[in-house]
């Protein structure tokens, strides 16, 4: 607005008045969506290379397959250094196989540490998701570089390490959705709020507060 003012009153030139006229026409345009002429249409074919996301139920799994056996070599050379030869994790990187589901659930119920022992066998609902994740995000240092069949094979090898499929199993766009993940039935969608604190202002409790400080200091470094 201030620019228009300068043109009109400060300069008082024909060009200024013209600019004002043009802008007004633009602003007054009827049916202006704010989007007229912006962007490009694109065909599904052109999008295909990016349209890689696999749904939990296996929809959009790319055509291909790989056996547990075929997954061993690529796992040992491209994955084991971080996730351990047996999926036990290495150098602080995540485990492939954590606590078996019953033990994981017991830890939750008894307040024992369970989160450090998460893995494919206790905190993954759907095998197609595992394929999707490995294909897009692993190996960590060169994400997205494995082929489709190799990704199926490595996925199968990881599923076998986690005791979810037999050694004879073949992972493919046809079989993966039927692999039952141990955690599949344990998921529940958020129903919070799960606490109901009240805005008490005075004499909110009458016992001694049990104050606990840090067991060790200097852990922030």
């Amino acid at each position: 607005m201030s620019k228009l003012k300068t043109s009109k009153f400060g300069l008082g030139l024909a060009a200024g008045a013209m600019a004002l006229g043009l802008s007004t026409a633009g602003i007054a345009a009827e049916h202006a969506s704010g989007f007229n002429g912006i962007g490009k249409n694109i065909t599904d074919k052109a999008i295909e290379p990016w349209d890689i996301s696999v749904f939990y139920d296996g929809e959009n799994l790319p055509k291909g397959s790989g056996t547990v056996e075929a997954g061993q070599e690529p796992y040992d050379t491209q994955c084991a250094m971080c996730h351990g030869a047996f999926g036990e994790g290495a150098e602080g990187y995540p485990k492939m196989a954590g606590d078996p589901m019953p033990q994981f659930i017991t830890s939750l119920k008894q307040g024992l540490d369970g989160v450090g022992n998460r893995g494919v066998n206790n905190a993954w609902g759907h095998a197609p998701t595992l394929f999707d994740m490995i294909k897009r995000h692993m190996p960590f240092y060169a994400p997205g570089t494995m082929g489709v069949d190799e990704s199926y094979a490595v996925t199968c090898y990881v599923l076998n390490l986690a005791n979810i499929v037999d050694y004879e199993f073949t992972c493919s766009n046809e079989t993966l959705a039927d692999v039952k993940m141990p955690a599949a039935d344990y998921y529940v969608t958020d129903t919070r709020p799960d606490t109901d604190n009240q805005r008490c202002m005075s004499d909110c409790y009458d016992y001694e507060p049990k104050v606990v400080g840090a067991a060790v200091t200097g852990v922030s470094e």
Binding site: G92, G114, H126, A183, N197, D206, S220, E221
Partner: protein, 457 residues
């Protein structure tokens, strides 16, 4: 309040009479601020007694900057903080993650005085490192259940009607190291996985109208162009989870606040925060605000991605695993005093802190200085905005006693920030995420301020 606290300190014993009349004035003012006078007295937030001040007799001397020339303009083309502020930086905790590429850093809220996080201090969370995406070639694709699948350049996005709003972003792991007990000795690490910025971009709903989203579409998902190609599913009206259970209606409205952001506090997004564009879903766990955004697809079911099945889940003590916990609920913390900002002698202080809620505006913040037995309502500092950090403050007189200080936020939905005991009761100690319980700091007689937990409150 500074007016009240600054002009009340007695200058010397000779002004005793003045001091005590001022003292009454002070008490009246702070009582007026408190929810109830009785609560104020009981809470121990009363006049600390006359504090004897030191007297300066040495004549003042010029400092080293008085007789020299300083730097010329643009000697620092992109300005940096004073060299004396070099401690005000993002930090990480080395033992939290195996490397810094799939890791997190924390905002130093202990050193910030407003609601905005300077861009260089915004917390970072990457799953495959921060990447440098060229805006000249970057494209955003929108497809799926739409009339017109489309692709947009950065120039295209900047031509569109813009939307600006101030919102916090919070990693739901904020506070996660404290479920089992006290670990961290800095508020940077107890609450620093949250930052707040002014964001500018294009409203998702505007784009939806333009590409013509099919009303039968109940979910969308957003995907990044980094090495993790991070992707998250976002519900819309009528969304159901993978078991066919409906997503709660209020969560199905969250997308209406979303934008495709290209600016952060007025300048381009920082690479660490998603340059050149990111998805921004206010109020929700920040993992959903996909950085380095390249694709949005409209669909009719959730993907249930790696992030949704393995990372951002809460294993609960009833043996279930909670998924799709989108919202960050009301939270607050005192950042002055705190373990990083200790007491420096008796007398007047202003307790200050920050509060935020993913459900809307902050309605009240109450402060206790006696471990939660009694509370006083703090003053909220304008602006008070939805899904945004709100600053609060309350005058405090410290007479050298021990105190357990804490803040409690209530948001406009009436939700009250829970106590730690309430939170542990429903979540156990394995749920990692969304720990928004009341934080206690202990002021020691020495003036040291420590991170503590009150196990039975």
């Amino acid at each position: 309040m500074s007016e009240t606290t600054l002009d009340q300190t007695p200058q010397s014993d000779a002004r005793e009479g003045v001091a005590s009349s001022d003292r009454r004035k002070f008490l009246r003012k702070s009582v007026a601020l408190a929810a109830s006078g009785a609560a104020a007295a009981a809470a121990g937030n009363a006049y600390a007694g006359d504090v004897k001040l030191e007297t300066v007799t040495e004549p003042l001397k010029d400092g080293p900057t008085r007789n020299i020339l300083g730097r010329g303009v643009v000697s620092v083309p992109y300005g940096m903080p004073s060299k004396f502020e070099k401690n005000v930086v993002r930090r990480n905790v080395s033992w939290l993650t195996a490397d810094t590429v799939a890791s997190i850093s924390f905002t130093p809220w202990q050193d910030l005085n407003g609601i905005i996080t300077p861009n260089g201090l915004h917390f970072e969370r990457h799953h495959a490192g921060a990447v440098d995406v060229d805006p000249e070639t970057h494209q955003l694709v929108i497809h799926g259940m739409v009339d017109k699948p489309m692709v947009f350049s950065m120039e295209d996005l900047k031509r569109m009607p813009s939307h600006t709003a101030i919102h916090f972003l919070e990693c739901p792991a904020n506070g996660a190291m404290e479920w089992r007990g006290v670990q961290m000795d800095s508020m940077q690490f107890t609450h620093g996985m949250m930052s707040c910025s002014e964001w500018t971009g294009v409203k998702l709903t505007d784009l939806m109208e333009y590409v013509g989203v099919d009303p039968k579409s109940t979910w969308l998902y957003a995907e990044a162009t980094d090495g993790s190609a991070l992707q998250r599913s976002i519900p819309m009206e009528g969304a159901k989870d993978q078991f066919g259970e409906p997503i709660k209606a209020s969560d199905c409205e969250l997308y209406k606040d979303a934008m495709i952001a290209y600016a952060q506090n007025g300048e381009a997004l920082r690479p660490e925060n998603g340059y050149p564009i990111r998805f921004l879903l206010p109020g929700c766990e920040a993992n959903m605000s996909i950085k380095w955004l390249r694709r949005i697809k409209f669909v009719d079911k959730p993907l249930v991605t790696y992030q949704e099945t393995r990372h951002y889940i809460e294993p609960l003590p009833d043996g279930t695993i909670r998924q799709f916990s989108f919202l960050n609920m009301a939270n607050s913390v005192i950042n002055y005093p705190c373990p990083d900002n200790q007491m420096k002698g008796k007398g007047s202080y202003e307790i200050r802190g920050i509060a935020w809620s993913g459900q809307g505006k902050i309605a009240h913040v109450d402060v206790s200085v006696d471990g939660g037995k009694n509370w006083q309502e703090a003053e909220l500092v304008e602006p008070v905005l939805s899904k945004c950090v709100t600053k609060f403050k309350l005058p405090f007189e410290w007479n050298g006693d021990e105190h357990l200080i804490m803040s409690r936020a209530t948001d406009e939905t009436g939700y009250v920030q829970p106590t730690l005991a309430q939170m542990r009761k429903v979540r156990g100690t394995n749920s990692i995420y969304h720990k928004n319980s009341i934080q206690a700091w202990k002021i020691e007689k020495t003036g040291e301020v420590k991170n503590v937990q009150i196990e039975n409150f």
